[in-house]
Symmetry: C2
Subunit: 336 residues, 2 copies
Amino acid sequence: MRVAILAHGKFPDDAKTAVGILQYGEHDVAAVLDRDRPGERVCDFLPDVQDAPIAGTIDDVEGPLDALIVGIAPIGGGFDETWRPDVVGALERGCDVIAGLHYFLADDEEFRALADEHGCELRDVRRPPPDLTVAAGTAREVDAEVVLTVGTDCSTGKMTATMELVEAARDRGWDAGFVPTGQTGAMIAGGGIVVDRTISDFTAGAVERMVTERGDRDYLFVEGQGAITHPAYSAVTCGILHGAMPDALVLCHEAGRDAIHGYESFPIPHPSTHVALYEDLAAPVRGTEVVAGALNTRHVDDEAAAREAVADFGDAIDAPATDPVRFDVGEVLDAL
Amino acid sequence: MRVAILAHGKFPDDAKTAVGILQYGEHDVAAVLDRDRPGERVCDFLPDVQDAPIAGTIDDVEGPLDALIVGIAPIGGGFDETWRPDVVGALERGCDVIAGLHYFLADDEEFRALADEHGCELRDVRRPPPDLTVAAGTAREVDAEVVLTVGTDCSTGKMTATMELVEAARDRGWDAGFVPTGQTGAMIAGGGIVVDRTISDFTAGAVERMVTERGDRDYLFVEGQGAITHPAYSAVTCGILHGAMPDALVLCHEAGRDAIHGYESFPIPHPSTHVALYEDLAAPVRGTEVVAGALNTRHVDDEAAAREAVADFGDAIDAPATDPVRFDVGEVLDAL
C-alpha cells in the first residue's frame, strides 16, 4: 500500500503515528507531509527507519497513492481544519484516508460526499466495534503468557517497546502475538480496537476481547496506554490493566522527564512508586509484577550517559532495563 | 411529574434506579411495573420510601402519566425486548420515556416513530454531551470541599450514601451540592453526565466539568461508581477519582459481601486494602484520604449485629463508619 502520511508541524518528535508507521508498518511511504519542512527527508531526522521525502502538501506528492494517513493526534483528538485541503486533495485523486482521531472523518459531510464521488474509503480506526460490552473477567484464562507495557506518562515509548519485543521474540522463534490498543498500533497491525475511544464501561471488555481472541499464542504483547498516575488518561490505563490480566508488566519511562507532558504542574512520581501502584492495583484482579523496564533515551545524546540512565532506571525499579530502540530487548525477553 | 417505573423481575433488590427514585426523587410515582409482583405494593418491601402500587404492565396503570422511567439496568446496559410492550404502551398514551441504558431508546426506529406520532420525548440520560473532551487537571482548583464516595464493589450503596450526605448536610444548613455520575443520580438530579457511558479518554474530563461547574458551593458530594478492584468497571472508578480530585473519600461496602457481584470468582479484598489503593492511586494527582466509611447492612436483620458490623468496618478502615440508611451520617459529616 503506497501512502502519504500527514504530520504538519509535528514531524518527527510529536508525530508518534507517522514515525510508528515508518518504523514498523509494511506500508510503502511515498511522502510525509509537514508544511514546516518541505524538501527535507525523513532520513535527515530518523536514520534508522524507512526513508521518504517530506512534502508541504498532498499536491506535491507525485505518482499513484493508495491512501493518506493522518499521522498526528493532537491532545483531545480533534481535526485540525488546516489539514482539510490535504484530505480533500487526497480524496479528489481517489485516495482512501485513514485516521485515528476522536473526530470521525466519515461523519464529516464534505469528506463523505467526496469519498462517495471518487469511490474512496474513509477509515476511522478509532471507531469502536458496535457490539462491545463489559468484561467477563476471562483474560486470565488464555494460554499465552500476556505481557503488558505500562508507563509513567503518555508518549514514553510503550508502543515502540511493545513492537520491539514482538519483533525480537519472533526473531528468537517464539510464537508471539501483538495486541494493539492505540491508533498507531492498530494502523500497523491492520486492525484492533483503539481502546481510548471505547465507552469507559467497556474499556476492559475491549482489551479482554482482543486478548482472548489472540490468546492461543505462546506470548502476547499488549500495547499499554497513558499512565495510572495521569490526571486525564488513567481510566484507559486502568481498564487495560484489569482487562488484559497480564502475567508480566514492562514499565516504560522517558529519561529526564519529570512532569506529565502537557500537564506540567503534575510531577511524575518515582519509577518505584509506579511499580508499586501497578502491582498493587493489578493484584486483586490478577497478580502480576513489573519484570523489566524500557527507558526511552531519545533525548540523551551521549551513549555512555544513556547506558548509565538505563542502569539507574533498572536500579530504581529493581529489574532489568534497556532502551529498546537504542540497545536491544534481549534481557527483557530473558526476564519473561 | 407523575411517573411509572419499569422494574420487571428485579424489584426491589436489583432495581437500584427504581428504588433510588422512590427514595430521593421528587417524582409522584403512580406505579412500579414488575410482572412478578402484580397487586403488591412498594411498602410491602420498602417501608421507608414513597409508596406506590405494583402493576404487571403499563396498561394496568390508571390515570394520567407524564413519563415511564426504565428503573433497572442489566449488566451491559442492553434493552430487554420483553420491556417493549410497556414502552410502546407508554408512548401510545402520550408518555415520555426516560431510560439510562447503554442502548439508546431514541435510536430505536419503532420508539422514535411512536414518539413522533404521539408528541412524546425519548430521554436517554446516559447519552453524553457531544462536546466532552479530556480533563485539564483543574478540579483541584475549586473552592468547594469535594467529597467522593468510593466502593469495594458495584451496588454497595455509593449513590445512597451520597444522597444521604447531601440531605444531612443541607439539614445542617451547609451549602452542599451533588454531582451525579450514574443514571439514577442523573434522574434524581434532573441532569448530569452518566460517566460510564463517556469515551474512556474523556471520563475524567466529564467529572472535572461537573465538579468545576458546581465548584462554588461549600461542599460538593460526588457519586462514585464501581470499584478500583472491579475486573470490568475499574476504568470508570479511576477516571472519577482523578477527574474529581476529591479532598476526602467515603468508602462504601456491603456487610457480608466477600466476592464481586456477578464475578464471584473474584474475592473482594479487605477494606483496608481498598483504603490504601484509593489513597495511593489518588496521591500523585491529588492527595486525599478515606475519612469515613458507609456500610450497607440491608442484609443484616438484627439491629445489634448491624451496629457491630458498622463498628468492625470502622475499625477495619481506621475511620468513623455508619450505615447511612439504617443509622445517620452525623459522624461522617463531623469527619469532614
